[in-house]
Symmetry: C2
Subunit: 600 residues, 2 copies
C-alpha cells in the first residue's frame, strides 16, 4: 500500500474517531476499535498510566473521562505506513489541558493499538527555542538595583527549604531524581533533590570498579541534554558520574548532597509532607506538597540471613558494597548469584588473579551484548536508527506504543533469532552447566526487566570464562551456612572462601517507603514495579502497567520515580506534568486507580 | 532558475574545475574564475588561512600547491540555488590529506567566490557516532588487571606534564583555549591548558556583575556540545562560566587551574618550547612542541598613564577590574570610554544610584540589540535559521564564504536598513550629543570587530539613559590629569569623581607574546588581529585575513587562538587540524606566509 493510501486510511479513522468523541458518542468511538484492542494512555485521558484492554474497557474509560478531557483536533503527523496489513501512524491531538501526541495501529480499518500521551500543559509550556520562548537572559532597559543571574540563583538556593518550601521533594539524586528535577525546573516547580551522597553521580561512582552501563548510549540520553556524538557506546560508571554531576549543575537543579532523609510523615490536614533531613549535620524540616521517592527501582540490598555469617573471618559483603578485585589475587572468592552484578564481579575477580566460584541459585537469561545491540536495541536505539531519523523521542514513544500484554509475543521472535544465531555460544554455556533461558516464556531481557527488574546477564565476556571453567560454577538454591573460612551450600558441599560476595539483588522499591515513611504507608501503596505477569518474582493479578511507578499511588502525594536511564528520561515527562498540573490547580481526575493486591 | 538548472550549472563547473586540477592545468582552472574572483582557503590547499584575490593570485596559488594537495572528487552537496544571477552551492572534495567542504558562488558561468576548507584528516578522523566509530567504553572479554576508565584518566592526568610532555600547551582557558583543547582531545593530541584562574569559567565570572554575552545563543555554541534548547538568548556571565566549567570536565580537558605561565623560550635545536609555569605554588617545566596563546584576542588592559593618578583618593581602576556598582549610590562616577564595557558599567552604576558621567573620546558604533538580532544575526544565527535547517556548521561556513574584502559592501545595506528603521533612536542619540556612526565606512559592527576588536556598543538600555541625560556625557580626546578627588579633561573641564573607571580597552594580542616569551618574538610575529583595512586602529597593508590568528606565524610553533565564542568554535577546527597534521608528520607546506608589517 502506498503512503497516500495509508495516510488516507488513518485520516479517515481519525475523522470518525474525532467526530464521535466530540459528539460524546463513546459507543461509536469504541466501535472503531477491534474487540481486543489496546489503548495505552499516559495521562492524556486518565491522568494515570493506564492500558485499557478490550473494547469494553475502552468504552468505559471514555464514558468516565470524555467530559473533562474534551479531546479534539486529531491529526496525522508525518506519513503513515502499512506493513503486513497493519497501518502505523503518529498522531497529534489537543485536550482541555494540553497538547497530545500518540501512535496508532490500524488493521482492517479498525484500531488495534492506540497510544495517547500528554506532552505539555496548555499555558504552561516549557520555554524553548523551538517555540520561540527562550528567556532573554539579560534584562534590557533600566532596572534599579538589578540583581545578576548568579545573585538571584544564590538567593533562591539559600531560601529554598528554609524561607520558602519546595513544592516537590525528591529523595534520591541518581538519573531518576535528576531527570525529574530537570523537568520540574523547566516547568517552574520549586523542587529539592536530597541524596546521601556528596555529589551528583556518586551513586554510580561508588559502585564496583569495572561497572559500565549495560545499555548502549542511544538508550541513555538524559532529557534536554543528549550526550555528544563521541560518547562511548557503554559509559563507564565514573564517566556517567561526571556527566550527571555536570547535568545537575547546568540544569540548575537544587541538589542537596550529603543529605539523609530521616523520616517523612504525611500531614492530611495541611495537605503536605513533613520531612526531616540531615543536611551535612544540620537537621532541616521540609514541608513539600509532594514527595517523590527516586531511590532506585531496586530497593534496599537483599542480604539473606545466613547462619554463621558472624564467625566468617574473610570478607563478606553484598554486591553493592563490593568495589573491585585488586586485593584478591590468589584468594578464593565465592559470588552468590548469576545475574549482571554477579557476572561482572566474577570476571573482575578472575582478571585480578583470584580463584572464583559462582553459585547459581536459579536460571538466568544470558544474551551476548552484541546480539542484543543488533536485534533488540538496534531498530530504535542505534546509529542506524539515528540515521533513519528515529530521534530519541520517537524511539521512546514507539516503545511506549507496545501494550505490555503484547510485548512477550512481539519479543519472542527476537530472542528466537538470537538463540539461533548464537547457537554455539548457548550450547557451550549449557555444556558448562550454566542454567540459562531467554525469559521464562522466552520473552527476553526487556520483558523480564519490567517484571522483576533483574534476572539476566548481558554478556561482555564472563560467559566465556564460565564456558572455559575459569570461573567455577556451583548450583544451590541457597547457602546453608557460613563457616570460619568457607561456606556450605544447601546441597552439603563446602567451598573454601576468603571473600563472599552476595550478588543477591535488592528488595522491592516500597521498602524505601517503609524505611522513610512507615510500614503502614508502604502497605497502603503496595508493591512497586512488576506487571503481574504470573512469572517468577512478578506475582499477582495482571495490571498492564508497572505497579505504582510514575503515577498516583494510594498514598496521596507520594510518587515513585525509578528505572534505567531510558525510563528516567521517558517517564519523568509524565510524572513532571502530573505534578505541574497539581501545582497549577488543573483538574487531574485519576481514572481507575489500581487496587493494591500486593503488600511488599 | 529552478534547482535542476542550478545544480546542472554547478556540476558542470565542478567537472571542468576538477578535470583541470587533475590535469595540473592551472591556467585552465584559473580561467574558470572571474578576473576579480576570490578564493578563500582554510588549510585545504595552502595550510594557511588565505584569501586569494583575483585570477592571477589564484593561478599562482594553484601553481604552488596543486602537486601536494592533489584535490579530487569535487561534487555538489545538496541543492544549488540561484538568486539575482548568482548561483550558490555547497561542495565536497578530497585532498591528499583529507576531506574538504566548500562553498561556491557562480556568475555567468564563472566563479566569483570559492571557499575551500579541510574538515578532517584522512586516517585521523575523529571517532563519532556519525561515522560509526564511537569507542565501546567497556572492553569486552578478559583483560588481566583491567584498569577502569577513571584509573586510566587519573594516571594520564598525573603523568601529563611530568612523565610525559604534552604536544601542545595552551595558555589561557577561556572559550578559545577550551574549544581548541576539546578538538585536540578528540584528535588524540596530548594537550595541557594552563590558566591563572582556579576553575574554567572564572575568566567570565570575575568580570563586572551585570555582564551578559552581547552575542545571541545561536552564535555561541561550543564545539560538540551545543547549549540545550532552553538556554537564554544572552547568557549571563556566571551561567557561561558554569557551562565552560562543565564543558572542560565532560570533554576531559587537561586543565591546570591556578597556573601562571612564568615564561616561555623556543629551543630551536630541540624543536620544542621550554615553558615554566607556577602550578598552585609548584614550579613546573613543560616542553611542548607547540605553544598556543589563547589569552584573549584582547591583550593586556590598556591603562593610560595619566598625570596625578597617584594622588587620587577615590577608586581608580581599569574596566576589567571593576565588578559592580552596588557601593556607589550617591557617589560621583566617571567612566572613560564609550564602547560596550563603558556603557554597561555606566548603566549599572546608574541603576545603583550613582551620579554617572561618560567621557567619550571618539565616536562609537551603536546598534540596538534587537535590530542587530533581526538584521545582522537573524539570517544565519536565530531560531528562524534553525527552523530553516541552517545548522551551526552551515552558518559558520556561510560566514566564512564571504571574502573579507567584500564584507563592507555586503554589510553596508544591513546597517543602512537599521539606520532607517531606528531613525528616531539615532536622532535622539545625536541630539543628546553622543557621537555615533555605523562603522567608519558604514560597514557595521562585525567588520569593525574584525578590524580592531572593539569600537561599538550593542544597546541594551544605556543609550536611553544617555538620551535622557541620566548618564551625563562629556567629550574629550583624553584625560589631562587626575586630581585628589576629580579629573581634568584635556579641554580643561574638571569633573568631580569618587570613582574613575578606565574603559580604555586592551592592547594588541601580541603583548602577551612579549610578556610570556620575549619582545623579540613579539616583534618577529608582529601585530595580531585586524585586516589592514586602513580604518582607525587597523593600520598597515591589506592582508585579507586576520593577522596571525589561527594560522602559522613567523615564530615557529607559536600560534594565536582567540575571539568570540563563534570564532573560538569555528577557527579552532582549522587550528586543531594544523596541529594534528604536524603531530602525525603529515606534510603541511604553508603557502605564502604573510610579511610582518606591523610590530605591535
Amino acid at each position: 500500500m502506498n503512503e497516500a493510501d495509508s495516510n488516507e486510511k488513518v485520516s479517515r479513522w481519525l475523522d470518525g474517531f474525532g467526530t464521535a468523541l466530540t459528539r460524546g458518542d463513546t459507543r461509536a468511538a469504541a466501535a472503531l476499535f477491534e474487540e481486543h484492542a489496546f489503548w495505552r494512555d499516559l495521562i492524556a485521558f486518565t491522568w494515570n498510566l493506564k492500558t485499557l484492554e478490550g473494547r469494553a474497557a475502552i468504552a468505559a474509560m471514555l464514558e468516565a473521562t470524555l467530559a473533562t478531557t474534551r479531546p479534539l483536533a486529531w491529526q496525522l503527523l508525518g506519513d503513515a505506513r502499512t506493513t503486513d496489513g497493519v497501518t502505523e501512524a503518529w498522531i497529534l491531538f489537543e485536550t482541555a489541558s494540553g497538547h497530545g501526541k500518540g501512535h496508532l495501529r490500524l488493521r482492517d480499518g479498525r484500531c488495534w493499538t492506540l497510544l495517547t500521551t500528554l506532552q505539555s500543559l496548555a499555558g504552561f509550556e516549557e520555554r524553548t527555542g523551538a517555540n520561540d520562548s527562550r528567556e532573554l537572559g539579560v534584562e534590557h532597559g533600566v532596572v534599579r538595583h538589578r540583581s545578576s543571574w548568579l545573585e538571584r540563583k544564590m538567593k533562591d538556593e539559600a531560601e529554598l527549604g528554609y524561607l520558602r518550601q519546595p513544592y516537590c521533594l525528591i529523595v534520591g539524586g541518581g538519573q531518576g531524581g535528576l531527570a525529574l528535577a530537570a523537568r520540574l525546573k523547566r516547568l517552574d516547580v520549586p523542587t529539592i533533590v536530597v541524596d546521601r551522597h556528596e555529589k551528583p553521580g556518586d551513586q554510580w561512582r561508588e559502585r564496583y570498579r569495572s561497572l559500565c552501563l549495560h545499555d548502549p548510549v542511544w538508550y541513555d540520553h538524559m532529557p534536554y541534554l543528549p550526550f555528544p556524538d563521541h560518547w562511548p557506546v557503554f559509559s563507564p560508571k565514573d564517566k556517567i558520574g561526571d556527566w550527571l554531576e555536570m547535568y545537575a549543575k547546568v540544569m540548575e537543579i537544587d541538589y542537596w548532597g550529603s543529605t539523609e532523609c530521616l523520616g517523612a510523615r504525611y500531614d492530611e490536614d495541611a495537605g503536605s509532607w513533613e520531612v526531616t533531613v540531615d543536611r551535612a549535620g544540620e537537621e532541616v524540616r521540609l514541608r513539600p506538597v509532594h514527595l517523590i521517592l527516586a531511590t532506585g527501582m531496586s530497593g534496599v540490598p537483599n542480604v539473606p540471613d545466613i547462619p554463621g555469617a558472624a564467625r566468617f573471618s574473610g570478607r563478606l559483603c553484598h554486591s553493592s558494597a563490593h568495589t573491585g578485585g585488586e586485593e584478591y589475587a590468589g584468594k578464593r572468592c565465592v559470588v552468590i548469584g548469576s545475574n549482571n552484578s554477579a557476572h561482572d564481579i566474577c570476571a573482575d575477580l578472575y582478571e585480578w588473579g583470584a580463584h572464583v566460584t559462582m553459585v547459581q541459585r536459579s536460571p538466568s537469561i544470558v544474551v551476548r551484548s552484541e546480539s542484543l545491540m543488533e536485534h533488540a536495541w538496534g531498530p530504535l536505539y542505534s546509529e542506524a536508527a539515528v540515521r533513519a531519523g528515529i530521534t530519541t523521542d520517537i524511539a521512546d514513544l514507539r516503545v511506549a506504543s507496545v501494550p505490555f500484554k503484547l510485548m512477550p509475543e512481539w519479543q519472542r521472535p527476537v530472542y528466537e533469532k538470537i538463540r539461533r544465531q548464537d547457537a554455539a555460544f548457548y550450547d557451550a554455556l549449557e555444556a558448562a552447566g550454566f542454567q540459562y533461558h531467554l525469559g521464562e516464556d522466552g520473552a527476553g531481557i526487556h520483558a523480564t526487566y519490567l517484571r522483576r527488574g533483574a534476572g539476566y546477564y548481558i554478556d561482555v565476556g564472563a560467559s566465556q570464562l564460565i564456558i572455559d571453567g575459569a570461573i567455577a560454577l556451583e548450583h544451590a538454591a541457597s547457602v546453608a551456612s557460613i563457616n570460619e573460612r568457607s561456606l556450605t551450600l544447601d546441597n552439603g558441599k563446602e567451598i573454601p572462601a576468603d571473600l563472599i560476595v552476595l550478588a543477591t539483588g535488592y528488595g522491592p522499591m516500597n521498602d524505601w517507603a517503609a524505611m522513610l515513611i512507615s510500614e503502614e504507608v508502604a502497605h497502603r501503596v503496595g508493591r512497586c514495579w512488576g506487571l503481574g505477569s504470573d512469572t517468577r518474582y512478578d506475582p499477582g493479578p495482571w495490571e498492564g502497567e508497572l505497579r505504582n511507578m510514575w503515577k498516583p499511588t494510594h498514598q496521596p502525594a507520594l510518587w515513585f520515580q525509578g528505572g534505567n536511564l531510558m525510563q528516567a528520561r521517558h517517564y519523568s515527562r509524565y510524572l513532571a506534568l502530573q505534578l505541574k498540573a497539581r501545582q497549577e490547580g488543573i483538574a487531574t481526575p485519576v481514572y481507575a486507580m489500581e487496587p493494591v493486591h500486593h503488600r511488599r
